[in-house]
Amino acid sequence: MNPERWQRLLDDATAISGVRGAIVVSAEDGLVVHEAAVEGLETSDVAALASVVVRRAESIATASGDSQVRLCTLTAENGTVIAAQGEHGLWLVAVTEPDVELGRLRLMLGVLAPALG
């Protein structure tokens, strides 16, 4: 685990137009591990709530016979939250504006998240 590498990964994620911030979250305890976020984003709240969503999604996946959740996407009126699974219980979470390039971001998070470990 390397905070410098995390910072580079988060910089890559936040470089995409429309991304308000990106956070490395520990799903086990819902805490921020590392963050690169713009002003005005309550990263600790995002981490706490994102961890609940991820854990619920994992429960659903387990119940439906699919044991792994790789990516969770929550789309709301004012933006999107995407969480991508990394190693060691870490998740890469991005919070975006509504007009983000969602396809590109999903693809990028899917590539970046496994490098968190």
């Binding site: 799903a27 086990e28 305890d29 819902g30 805490l31 921020v32 600790s44 709240d45 981490a47 706490a48 709530l49 961890s51 609940v52 854990r55």
Partner: protein, 155 residues
């Protein structure tokens, strides 16, 4: 859930509900219980309150020893099946302490978040403190009984 004063019920209920807490205890920094959720025996509440207040006092002293300008914000004990969140917060009635026990369906981050909202809510809705009344021996036992009935029910 039992509370000593009705205005505490809503914030405490929200904390318990939103953080999926198993047990919750709100007390003054001296260990006097003002609200609780999930405890069924008064002895358990009194022991938890005394231990919680003691732990927070101990860590506060530890913070002082290591040169911290204020006490630690919160103390978290994380077990395999459940965790304990213990934190002090300022209210118009003085410094209070919250103890939250949570299981694997919750997280430290979630409890932390809703604890912060709870503390802000208590600060907002807590009535202005009234001047201390003189405690008279003949009224003390009656008031203590009334407090225990409010917290645990029964006659």
């Amino acid at each position: 859930m039992r509370v000593l004063e009705p205005w505490l019920a809503e914030p405490l209920g929200e904390l318990v509900r939103e953080s999926s807490a198993r047990l919750a205890l709100v007390m003054t920094s001296s260990g006097q219980v003002v609200g609780q959720h999930g405890f069924t025996r008064s002895l358990d509440v009194m022991a938890a309150a005394a231990l919680g207040a003691g732990i927070l006092a101990t860590t506060g002293e530890l913070a002082r020893l290591v040169g911290s300008s204020s006490d630690f914000g919160a103390v978290v004990h994380h077990g395999a099946q459940q965790g304990v969140w213990l934190a002090g917060f300022d209210t118009p009635r003085g410094r209070w302490v919250a103890l939250v026990v949570f299981g694997r369906n919750s997280t430290v981050g979630l409890v932390r978040m809703f604890f912060q909202r709870f503390a802000a809510s208590v600060r907002e809705v807590a009535p202005v403190p009234v001047p201390d009344r003189e405690v008279l021996a003949e009224g003390f036992e009656r008031e203590l009984d009334a407090s225990l009935r409010a917290l645990f029910g029964g006659g």
